[in-house]
Symmetry: none
DNA sequence: TATGAATGAGTATTCATTCAT
DNA sequence: TATGAATGAATACTCATTCAT
């Protein structure tokens, strides 16, 4: 699978992997403060002066690092969008077809666990991203592009592979993917956003969700 | 199932059924305009002057009918929240256990179709509601309350009923419910919000989603 | 003393004596409410809608009776200004010189008592008048005109009369008048506005104030 | 007379003596403009935009220096209230009893002259203060507190001292004080506020007012 | 790099007043 | 006479952004 036709990749990989490009102490505080407040009240309802205050810097300092308020938002939302799809970008992901997953369950389990952990570690950033995406065309395009061109296409191949092996029913790959995504997102949203205070057995949760993804809620033919 | 202990019901039924309490022509236009713009740019990013302009009224007129901008939001978001859960409120819903659904599929199919249609007819309102809920504690409480006390409790009974009949695997009812909800919401979000322009066969979609809910994506034991 | 040269008088006497020119029940309530609120928060800080609310009438009703908000103020402040100087207008006042006061003390005592009672009965109205007078040229002119042309001139004659009799020291009459006015106003302000809740013996108060007006605070020559 | 029990003093002395705590040029212009307009039309009838215009600054600039319009008022009215009673705060005032005044007249003359000059130099500020005091409880409390705890108590001692010496008639000290205050305020109001354009011999005015305060308007016993 | 005073366009809301009912 | 919906100008205050220091 040659990546050379996808101009996305260079940019994306950089974004996804970038730790950060030389950041002042103050700049770091500004980012922290912005993430906190954006996720609490939403981008539009947050004032730069409030950010400055919580970050402990002067109002003007924000604009020395970020040309506009929107710039600040994009510098937060862009990278997190990239990181959300990062695992699907990995060079090794291409090789998934041969290795290391022999079973669909293993494949989905791996993704589910990984993204659950990721979501828990980046809850605020994800909240910001999801919230602002519909209102900022650039963000929307970026995310849509990444999801369709990178994630969708790649996973589609995996699904087709497992369908060819007879491990997955014959159905349009997008339906399989949407089902898996829905169930996992449902699980993640529940534990990370709806009832984050409620403890739970992570492995068990993933396993049970996986079971329903594979066999549904009907007992019929389970033991067959 | 006596409802007398739930103070929610009176209020909710009123909200859910209320067409509207005597509304000036201008008031109607204000509401329309507000819904349009709130759903386009979000509540916080919408100015009252823009609403007035699009509604073709003076800015002051808005405040004659709604004490504050937030009041206007709540008068939009409150009722739609009520209508979202309305079907689960119906008195007849309680009798679902005996009649008219003999099969889980029938029960879930009925809900899925109904809510899909509802979502399509109220896409903008739902978008507003979901978007603002995390930022307005009153809304959050209202919705949480409705979902847990009304929807959850009622569906739980139905699930237990079908589990007793052996139509549903033994698992905590909330897991069954979450799975169904996730899959249906995934379907609705896709068709109503992500690719609304893409036509689709509604019955087929519901049927296929239902199939996965019941039997999963594994071919194993399907014909058993 | 021919009054024909003073165009003030006709108008003033009418104002001072007028009970009220046919007043609707609602109009009465509006006036009451306006007086109450004007005296509480000042004219400029009072909104017509608040007046309407406290009066229990519709907003529009106020403007049916008073063309503007200022009109309402003037209909309150004008009459009270007239009533403040009313006693000095009385036809009989002219005859004071002959009768019924043989002693300055009697003259001042009579005025002091009368105006003290008046102030207590009209505290709110007086507060409004004094407060708004500097900001409304019409009011200022009206009051100034009344004070100089009516009150000042008349009392001046009385003072001159008592000076001729040797009951009052030789000094410009205005100084005598200002001294008396200052002392009595100090007394009235104290009891009506500063410490209205503090009870006091009215006669005693007037008598003591009068004593100081006549003989000062020095004991020298008192018994002479 | 130990002041240590009066927590007022520290605060008050600071207020009364403070020239100003580092003030931008623009801030100064804002203050000037506000004083001018507040005294012309009253606080409530003055708009911040008008102040900004007259001060030659942007409207936003006002709010950088004063959080609210009321804040601006208080920053004007607070200090002037303190300065009004400042002379009575002076440490030397306590020693008045021994020195330098041997005669009541000297004591009152000194205060009268000083406050007359002060009033003339601060006419606008005093007008603002007196006008707004009844409508702003904080101001009212501040002024009341200062007048009763500082001014009243201190002058009372002086009066008692002169009564003991036989220079002042036996009467409740507050009556003596009120009489003096009334006469002096009458004089000040006349010359500073009512007819400021009318020139007058300051010393003569004070002397004549003092004479009436001491001996009243009756000629009886004057030469005794 | 960092500050914070300054800006002026923009904000939600209130106002006195009008007018059709 | 009385109402209250409608107005649009005005209000106090906030905003993102600039710039001299």
């Amino acid at each position: 699978m040659s990546e050379t036709k996808e101009p996305w990749l260079g940019e994306l990989l950089r974004l996804a992997e970038a730790e950060d490009p030389v950041k002042t102490v103050k700049q770091g505080k500004i980012l922290e403060a912005a993430i906190e407040i954006f996720s609490e009240k939403g981008y539009a309802a947050t004032s730069t002066s409030e950010i400055a205050q919580r970050a402990g810097v002067a109002e003007g300092t924000i604009f020395r690092h970020y040309k506009t308020k929107k710039d600040l938002l994009l510098s937060i939302a862009g990278p997190i969008a990239a990181k959300m799809v990062a695992p699907f970008l990995m060079r090794e992901f291409a090789k998934i077809i041969d290795f290391p997953y022999n079973w669909v369950e293993d494949f989905f389990r791996s993704i589910a666990k990984d993204r659950l952990i990721f979501a828990r570690q980046n809850a605020k950033l994800i909240k910001i991203l999801l919230h602002e995406v519909p209102f900022h065309p650039e963000l929307l395009e970026q995310l849509k592009g990444m999801l369709t061109h990178i994630v969708f296409h790649r996973i589609e191949k995996v699904v087709l592979h497992f369908q060819a092996q007879g491990q997955v029913i014959e159905a349009p790959p997008w339906r399989i993917m949407r089902s898996a995504a829905s169930l996992f997102i449902g699980m993640i949203v529940t534990h990370v956003f709806l009832v984050p205070e409620h403890p739970f057995d992570e492995d068990e949760e993933v396993e049970r969700t996986l079971d329903i993804l594979m066999h549904g809620i009907s007992p019929a033919g389970r033991n067959a």
